[in-house]
């Protein structure tokens, strides 16, 4: 079961870099690691996806060590508008579904 564990909440200030780490000890060989962002009363929004090493896009970076048992989402210079819930997802073969299984996510609060 590729269950993920991430902090329930994190606090930060505007302009700081935020790193949210997710552990997924039982990740399967074929699984990618995907992060979504959800604002209140909105649907989740894809942020970034990776398989190994480092992935960077215009929004974030994703760091994945060689053993792939964890991953870190890095948000550079956060602003108030980055306040949201961030979900780390990996494939979950034992869920019985070929689609995404969301956990509780990490609630990031960015303060002025």
């Amino acid at each position: 079961l590729a269950k993920t564990t991430q902090p329930i909440s994190m606090d930060s200030y505007e302009g700081q870099e935020v790193n949210i780490t997710c552990s997924h000890n039982n990740i399967a060989t074929n699984d990618y690691i995907t992060w979504y962002q959800q604002f209140p009363s909105q649907g989740p929004r894809f942020i970034i996806q990776g398989y190994k090493t480092k992935v960077t896009n215009e929004v974030a970076s994703l760091f994945i060590p060689a053993d792939r048992k964890s991953s870190t989402l890095s948000l550079p210079r956060v602003s108030l508008s980055d306040t949201a819930v961030y979900y780390c997802l990996v494939g979950d073969e034992n869920s019985g579904y070929s689609t995404l299984t969301f956990g509780k996510g990490t609630m990031l609060l960015v303060s002025p």
């Binding site: 699984d31 909105q42 649907g43 894809f46 579904y97 689609t99 995404l100 969301f102």
Partner: protein, 115 residues
């Protein structure tokens, strides 16, 4: 960026009534999904749909629920006889390909309130 659109944004209904939630997936996507989120809880998978039939469904998706693609653009979720516990935000999503490694595009949701 292309969007999944959902209507209505809010729906209030009486217990026992039927509701239909509507979604327009991204035009070139072939896989469609419904998720729901009860206030303060996790986003839960309900059903996936491909080629005019259900691919998978969760234990939440019982006989009171049905999905349909009535034309080439809309994707609907029907709850036949709503219960109080059906009150939730319902999200439609679509993707180009199926599977847990695929990028899903979610709509903004329909807030369903059952009184």
């Amino acid at each position: 960026e292309p969007e999944v659109t959902q209507t209505p944004s809010h729906q209030v209904t009486q217990m026992g009534q039927e509701v239909i939630l509507r979604c327009v997936p991204i035009s070139n996507h072939l896989y469609f999904y419904w998720y729901r989120q009860i206030l303060g809880q996790k986003v839960e998978f309900l059903v996936s749909f491909y080629n005019n039939e259900i691919s998978e469904k969760s234990e939440i998706f019982d006989d009171q629920f049905s999905v349909e693609r009535p034309d080439g653009s809309n994707f609907t979720l029907k709850i036949r006889s709503t219960k109080l516990e059906d009150s939730a935000m319902y999200f439609c999503a679509s993707s180009e390909e199926p599977g847990t490694n695929e990028k899903l595009f979610f709509g903004s949701g329909t807030q369903l309130s059952v009184l």
